[in-house]
Amino acid sequence: MIVPLIQVKDLHHTYLRGTPMETVSLRGVDLVIERGEIVGLIGPTGSGKSTLLQHLNGLLRPQQGEVWVEGQSLGDPRTDLRRVRQRVGLLFQNPEDQLFERYAGDDVAFGPRNLGLDRNEVRERVRRAMEAVGLDSMAFKDRLTATLSHGERRRLALAGVLALEPDVLALDEPTAGLDPQGREELLDYLMRWRTERGGAIVLASHTMEDLARLADRARVLVAGRIVLEGTPRQLFSQGEELARLGLGVPVATAVMGELRKRGLLLRTDCLTVEEAAAEIKALFDD
């Protein structure tokens, strides 16, 4: 039997367990991630997306339930978590939680140096990772991290994750705070990364357009439980249900939904501007 790349089974997590501040975050989550797959996580803030992502590289240990990465249980104290963290790169929602070196280049180099790679290999990885996120490595490597803008810090944090050359990317809101071109470049890069490396991506995002473009499958998480799942096309055709959960649909999908409400017979599962334009144009051709 081939074991899945990542398997999560009946995972529960409670923050500040046993204190008056106790907060339940995950209430029995099951998730399987196969090689080469891009899985989207959607959900309102506080629904447990970040907590789930932080379990995938062993940053949080399962309190109840199981997480396996390539068949290795992360709850097992014998599992080498250093190796797991090398294989599963985690990008935090907030770059301030991730960046700590004084100089931008050192921050990206931190992971590769810790892997014991030689200087040339470290330098090459830093260059590649920074270019991948659209930071000119010559211009940025000697910049003080503290002087970078919001978006530049986000890019730098992602470069640090990529420099480890992991097989799985667990990304928490990777496009928040990126400028629109940067967002498109990053989405294109992630698509290429998946194809070239054959790795898997788990992506939490509030931007429905990102998920519509990138994800093969998506899970909707509400109050620590998976309440809906399917392809983005299946999910976004349930616009009213998503709105009830405090979520949205891509703008193109919203236009189609509104037109249908007004009596026009149209597909409501269009995800992109191009699809919606083709569908609406057909109305005029008839």
Partner: protein, 303 residues
């Protein structure tokens, strides 16, 4: 924007303001250049930026990462002072120490991460924090807290611990704290970037309310569909103003937008695609509602 001979402002807006008879805009940025000095190196962020904002305007500030948006925002309430040029807020020079607090009371700031902006353990106390520090009478503080909580739709949460609010609620609470100082202008520096769709929609709704009340709003965002809601869009490119126009004009310039690191709002992209194929379909639409209306209207004409 330039202006020469003083002329009175249109009525209504000026009441109770110092410069009732002058054309003095609420915000006047005049030839501002600024560089961050770090470890003996100088990293330029703004280059000869000039900009005037009239009271009551709803302005979106957009541009690529590192184009100077946040740096410009921080000049608007004297968190940063220009190396060259001047910033005038309601007639006060931001370099004038004596008016620092007047300036900060005139321009309130909301930043990206609500967790770094909240201090109190009870919602109501969070909102009262600012007015208490102004030494206002109790009744006035109470009135301001009530008004601010009502505006941001958090009155029912008044006794809760902010820590347990959702991110969208927290950001509205930050906004309430700013509103309690009764600023004329509110600057939001990517304040919606970390919010979920419902949280973002709620913040934008509050901004519409404030705008309708005559408040001045400066919204920094990377979400073009948000920028399209403003009356006026200012594009920064490498520390300079690249364009300053109503959104319908800015978002007509697809090629320039790409050069500036930006894109079209999705609704505009859809309208443009349709205008290429459907005769007489307008290309300059900005919102879902406008596109829906145009499709419906055009179909009626055709059929």
């Amino acid at each position: 924007m330039s202006y020469s001979a003083p002329r009175p402002r249109p009525g209504g807006f000026c009441i109770g303001r110092k410069n009732a008879q002058a054309v003095e805009p609420l915000i006047r940025v005049e030839g501002v250049s600024f560089a961050y000095e770090v470890g003996g190196r100088s990293i330029p962020a703004l280059w000869d930026v000039s900009l005037s904002v009239q009271a009551g305007e709803y302005l979106a500030l957009i541009g690529a990462n590192g184009s100077g948006k946040s740096t410009l925002a921080r000049h608007l309430n004297a968190l940063l002072l220009p190396d060259k040029g001047r910033v005038w807020i309601d007639g006060w020079n931001t370099c004038d120490q004596r008016h620092r607090w007047d300036i900060r009371r005139t321009v309130g700031m909301v930043f990206q991460n609500p967790d770094t902006q909240l201090v109190a353990t009870v919602v109501e106390e969070e909102v009262a924090f600012g007015p208490e520090n102004l030494g206002l009478p109790r009744e006035e503080i109470r009135r301001r807290v009530e008004d601010a909580l009502a505006t941001v739709e958090l009155a029912t949460e008044r006794d809760r611990n902010p820590q347990f609010l959702s991110a969208g609620q927290k950001q509205r609470l930050v906004l309430a704290g700013v509103l309690a100082l009764e600023p004329e202008c509110i600057v939001l520096d990517e304040a919606t970037a970390l919010l979920d769709p419902a949280g973002r929609a709620a913040v934008l709704r509050v901004l519409d309310t404030l705008h309708a009340q005559g408040r001045t709003i400066v919204l920094i965002t990377h979400i073009m569909d948000e920028a399209a809601r403003a009356d006026r869009v200012v594009v920064l490119e490498e520390g300079r103003v690249a364009m300053d126009a109503p959104p319908r004009r800015v978002f007509r310039r697809g090629d320039d937008l790409r050069r500036w690191g930006l894109t079209l709002p999705s609704a505009t992209a859809l309208a443009q695609a349709l205008s290429r194929d459907v005769e007489g379909f307008p290309a300059d639409l900005l919102t879902v509602e406008e596109v829906v209306e145009a499709v419906y209207g055009r179909l009626r004409e055709v059929v």
